[in-house]
């Protein structure tokens, strides 16, 4: 027998590949190195990614606003900016004690989320925050436009979008998808301008106040529907459920009512 090497590392390298010890150590080392690599990349690059996402969302909001007919002129007269308000979804009023800056900290606390029971949970979210940041545009007669961030469950994961609603609180002025993970070329086409352009002018609720808006299976049949995307039934369904939930009583319903009554 050759004399045993004093160096444990070299002894480990020299041991047969089939030995159990070596198998376990190799598995452990590979996973450790890979874990460090992956976490390192994620942690180091996260600030840049967050900044990217925020910039993109801002760009989409301004894009959305600019795409609404007559919006540019309205913005000019109102000073060129939208006002940001944090609202309490329960009451549909401006939230007390929560501002734009503190919203993230407040929402990090699980106590500020409401669990949804199965019957109310149309879009499969499981819970919704108690506070939301919305954007308003006012003119002499009150609120003329409101931008509402919404979230739903698509085929590939969460869909984040922003819905713009006209001053009557029932006509959609525009729609922008801020984040999604749908299949490219199929559900991913919810991002297409041509599809998003079919939203303006559609109505959300009927006279009784029930949310009627939906994404059709094929071509839109009435003023509450937009055309479906071929081959993306689940994504379209997700969009429908998202609108049904957020425009309904558990979402922005109280807020829309309050604005429509002129209380905002």
């Amino acid at each position: 027998m050759a004399e045993t090497d004093w160096n444990p590392w070299r002894r480990f390298l020299a041991s047969p590949n089939e030995s159990r010890t070596k198998t376990i150590i190799v598995a452990f080392l590979v996973s450790a190195v890979c874990a460090v690599l992956v976490s390192g990349a994620t942690v180091i690059l996260r600030p840049i990614q967050t900044a990217n996402r925020a910039a993109e969302e801002q760009a989409r909001i301004s894009d959305l606003v600019r795409g609404i007919p007559g919006m540019a002129a309205l913005l000019e007269t109102s000073g060129g900016t939208l006002s940001t308000v944090v609202i309490d979804l329960e009451t549909g009023r401006a939230a007390e004690g929560v501002t734009r800056e503190t919203l993230d900290t407040v929402l990090a606390d699980q106590a500020n989320w409401t669990a949804l029971d199965a019957s109310a949970d149309l879009s499969g979210l499981g819970q919704r925050p108690n506070y939301a940041q919305i954007f308003l545009l006012r003119d002499s007669e009150g609120v003329s436009l409101v931008l509402l961030p919404v979230t739903g469950q698509g085929y590939g994961g969460r869909i984040d979008a922003i819905v713009a609603v006209h001053g009557d609180m029932n006509t959609i002025a525009g729609m922008a998808i801020t984040q999604h993970s749908e299949t490219p070329g199929l559900g991913g086409r919810i991002e297409d301008r041509s599809w998003l352009e079919s939203f303006p002018g559609k109505l959300i609720r009927d006279d009784s106040g029930a949310v009627q808006f939906s994404v059709a299976r094929g071509d839109a049949a009435n003023e509450y529907q937009v055309d479906g995307i071929t081959g993306a039934t689940r994504t379209g369904g997700g969009m429908t459920q998202m609108m049904r939930f957020w425009m309904g009583p558990d979402g922005y319903g109280p807020l829309l009512d309050a604005i429509a009554r002129g209380e905002f």
Binding site: N17, T23, V26, N52, R53, P184
Partner: protein, 221 residues
């Protein structure tokens, strides 16, 4: 001993003669999915080539110490980690393209081409030839993706890299876009046509028929 010429053949063979996509029909799922435009096809090609080359290098370095029983897991873990890192970099610095590629960067992990090269070549060769082989295969894959991507973007939108090449009929030109080119089936047709074209020129690539049909139809009583 590897010489200069063998390096050269290792690098250039996978371009056409041993092309991983057209000859071995590997990695075609992503080739079909991300080729709707030239820009996404190019990014996918670069990402895959980088992942493939690095993975081949790393696996080749530790090839003598990978126990056979867990070799696939070790390879996949290494490939998956590289893919996540590349994905994070794309999200940070190429946010626009990363969105267009969406899940397909993640799916490089399960791309048969990557595992195929690491399993078939990198496990038995020194780091440098392995990386050259991986790079060559990456280039072969890229070549196919770029050809299909260019075809689809040109005939689907009349554009190349987003620039209008063919004047659209809508804007007073003569070209009516073929919307079919932007759908998944067109990639199948194009890939099939490409495989057929390559095998007609390089006839040695054509596979022998799996069975010879009988001379006369069999009579069934």
């Amino acid at each position: 001993m590897p010489t200069r010429t063998s390096f050269w053949t290792t690098l250039t063979d996978p371009l056409i003669r041993q092309n991983p996509v057209t000859l071995q029909i590997l990695g075609i799922c992503s080739a079909l999915a991300v080729t709707t435009s030239l820009a996404t096809a190019l990014t996918m090609s670069v990402s895959l080539t980088v992942v493939l080359t690095l993975a081949a290098g790393v696996i080749s370095v530790i090839r003598r110490h990978i126990p056979d029983t867990i070799r696939l897991i070790v390879q996949i873990v290494i490939v998956a980690s590289l893919v996540i890192v590349i994905d994070q970099i794309l999200q940070a610095y190429f946010a626009e393209i990363s969105r267009a590629l969406s899940v397909y960067v993640g799916l490089i992990t399960t791309n048969c081409l990557v595992l195929g090269r690491t399993e078939a070549y990198a496990r038995y060769h020194a780091p440098l030839p392995s990386m050259v082989d991986a790079f060559g295969n990456g280039l072969g894959y890229s070549l196919v993706l770029i050809i299909i991507g260019a075809f689809r973007e040109l005939f689907g939108r009349g554009q190349l890299f987003g620039h209008q090449v063919l004047p659209l009929a809508d804007d007073g030109g003569w070209f009516t876009p073929l919307s079919l080119m932007l759908l998944a089936p067109s990639a199948f047709f194009l890939l099939g046509g490409l495989v057929w074209a390559v095998r007609s020129v390089w006839t040695e690539q054509a596979e022998p028929p799996e069975h010879t049909p009988p001379l006369r139809p069999e009579i069934v009583e």
